[in-house]
Every structure is written in structure tokens, then in C-alpha cells.
Symmetry: C2
Subunit: 207 residues, 2 copies
């Protein structure tokens, strides 16, 4: 089963994965997603697209690089766009992607696609830790990291809210994943990132 | 902090919550969401809308009733719509919503708004259990319940996939939440529900 928290590794490197789903709130949403996929350099990760998401797997810094680029490349200045990200470490019983665990931690989008991430985003996210008794402490550490990155974490029901530039947010996720990779056998970071929501200007519901 | 897994209750009834975010992939997305909110009977739950989601809290059957109605009421036959649902039990340190824990388990949308849920949906979801040593068994039980409800669960990376009518899916969530409510101190069910995806017809990416 997909949720199986088996911990596995090749040469001591656990595989990291991210599911990215993009929701551009416009009639021509498909083209916006396709353009972003074309622009994103995925040479450092294993990838697969299904009905819901594009999935990247490999070394944590490379997965973050691809996921961040997919969102930043999909940005349009006037479109409300939401991205849903599920980052996780732990492999669900297959070896797809293992060839990308080569220790290089390549980030081919850094300094290129990722340089365009200076637009403002909001984020809700939750960090889940499994098989770890001190999991509340680990969550506190992850949220503290958001503070360090200038993202002003605020508590809300079932999630923590963040605000900052897209670049800041993905730099934070990279740091959080690096910490989690080193300290935790199995985790899930579930994040929803929103840009150009009309609710930011008008007092309207979540659209 | 919002992720705090404190277990609390009023008169022995743990509060259940659901964050629902709707993503209609069209230019006039806002109106579609507002119309759905207006149509949905939320008399049996505490509710709040923020930048990302509409949040319902109360007794599990009532929360499910409101969340299902919000999605079904947002359905349009030609619009690609995605809904993101985070169901959880456990209260993050406040008493908002406690007045709805009256033991009535009212479902004011059942047989009304929910009667329109005979359209086909796809779902990806993960069930997370905390503070429970046998959590793999609990996850297996929850997925087995999907089989019983005719939703053909399939494993994928980091999630399980389901297919069926919206009514079938929400009936399953209701059963899963009832099981989880009775057996588990703290859980999260994270689900993404998609309808009218063009990828269902054409071999296109996740749009």
C-alpha cells in the first residue's frame, strides 16, 4: 500500500519524493500547466505525471528544485494559482528513481527558473512525523525554521500559515527537508501554496 | 501550534474538523464557490472561511455532511473542479465549535443537496495515524473499507487512488471517519477529489 512507511535506501541515501498538483483558476488552465512542465528542468529527478499530480523522486535538494521550478514557472501575474505539494521520505516498495540517488544533489533550476520567485505567496501546511516519540518537538523545530526564514508562521485549525516570497518559501522547504532527512525516518510535509487570491484584496471567501 | 495532537472532548465527544478548499478551473471561479457556500446547509456545524479553505467543526457525521455538500453543490457539468479535504480529530487548544457537540449528529444536507452526487469522481488520499503503534493495521482497515464501498483502491506513490460517484466517495469517508473516531485518538485524512479532468479523456498531464 502506498502509505506504507517502509524505510529503505540505496547506498545509505533515502529517497525523497514530492507530488505537485497545480490549480490555475482560469479557463485555459491546461496550457498554463503544460508550459510550466516544459520549462522545468527535471534532469536531476525521476518523474511521472498522473491524473492528479506530477511526481518527482530523488535526492531531497533535487526534488525541491524541480517542485519549486514547476510552481514558479506556472506563475502568471494575473491568475489565481494554487499548488498542492506532498513531500515525503520513505519508499513505497519500488526502486523507480533509485538511479537518481547518486549523491550529486543537483539543482539545475537554481539561479535560472528559480530566480523568478520574488512574488508574494501564502501557504498553509502541516508537518507529520511517524515512528518518532518526540514528534511534537520535531514539529516545533520545523515551524521554528519558518520563523528563521522570515515567513511569520501563524497557527490555524489543522495547519500553520506562512507568508513571504515564493523564493523564501521554497528556501524554507529546502531547509526543512534537509533537517527532516537527517533526523527523521519517515515524514510527510503537506503544503498548499496560493498566489493572486482575490481574497487578499477583498474580504471574500477562499477564492 | 495548530498541529498539536492534544486529545480533548466535551462530554466525551471528540471534535471532528474538515478544511475544504475548492479549485474550479475557470475564469469565474469565485462565483462558483460563493454559490456553493450559499446552497450548503451549515446549521449543524461551526464554520469559518479563511484565505484557503472553509472550515467545518463539530460531530463527525455533521462535518462530513457539510463538506460533501460544499463539493457537490460546486459541481458544474463542464468545469474541471478539484476539492482538497483535510479531515481530522483532535482539538488544537480552543473551544470554538464545542456547542455543536450535542450528540445529535445532524445531517441537514442528506437527501437534499447530497442527492445530486451521482457524478463520477477520482480521488487521491492518505490516511495518517498518530500515537498508535499498530498504525499500519489501521491504515489497512481504512483502505479495505474503500474496497467494500466499491471504490477500487489502487496504490500510487504517497497516496491511494479511488474512483466512483461522489455519493459513494463521501459515504466511504463517512464510514472511515466513524471507524477512526471510535478507534483512534488522533488521525488526519487528506483527500483530493477531482471531477471533469480533461486528462480522463485525453492522455494529458494533470489538468
Amino acid at each position: 500500500m502506498a502509505n506504507k512507511p517502509i524505510v529503505c535506501a540505496k547506498d545509505g541515501i533515502d529517497i525523497t519524493g514530492c507530488r505537485v498538483s497545480l490549480y490555475p483558476m482560469k479557463d485555459h488552465f491546461a496550457q498554463q500547466i503544460l508550459t510550466s512542465i516544459e520549462k522545468t528542468n527535471t534532469s536531476a529527478v525521476w518523474q511521472q505525471t498522473d491524473l492528479f499530480s506530477t511526481l518527482f523522486r530523488g535526492e531531497a535538494p533535487s526534488v525541491l528544485d524541480a517542485a519549486a521550478a514547476l510552481f514558479i514557472n506556472a506563475y502568471e501575474s494575473k491568475t489565481h494559482l494554487v499548488g498542492e505539494f506532498t513531500f515525503s521520505k520513505g519508499c513505497p516498495g519500488d526502486t523507480a528513481g533509485d538511479t537518481f540517488l547518486n549523491g550529486e544533489q543537483a539543482q539545475p533550476n537554481k539561479g535560472k527558473n528559480l530566480a523568478n520567485g520574488d512574488f508574494l505567496v501564502d501557504c498553509k501546511y502541516s508537518f507529520y512525523v511517524f515512528g518518532e516519540n518526540h514528534y511534537m518537538d520535531e514539529i516545533a523545530t520545523i515551524v521554528q525554521l519558518a520563523e528563521t526564514h522570515g515567513l511569520s508562521p501563524r497557527s490555524a485549525h489543522y495547519v500553520t500559515m506562512l507568508t513571504g516570497s515564493a523564493s523564501q518559501l521554497f528556501a524554507y522547504f529546502e531547509a526543512a527537508l534537509a533537517y527532516a532527512h537527517d533526523h527523521l525516518p519517515h515524514y510527510v510535509l503537506e503544503a498548499t501554496v496560493s498566489v493572486n487570491s482575490p481574497s487578499k484584496k477583498e474580504a471574500m471567501p477562499h477564492d
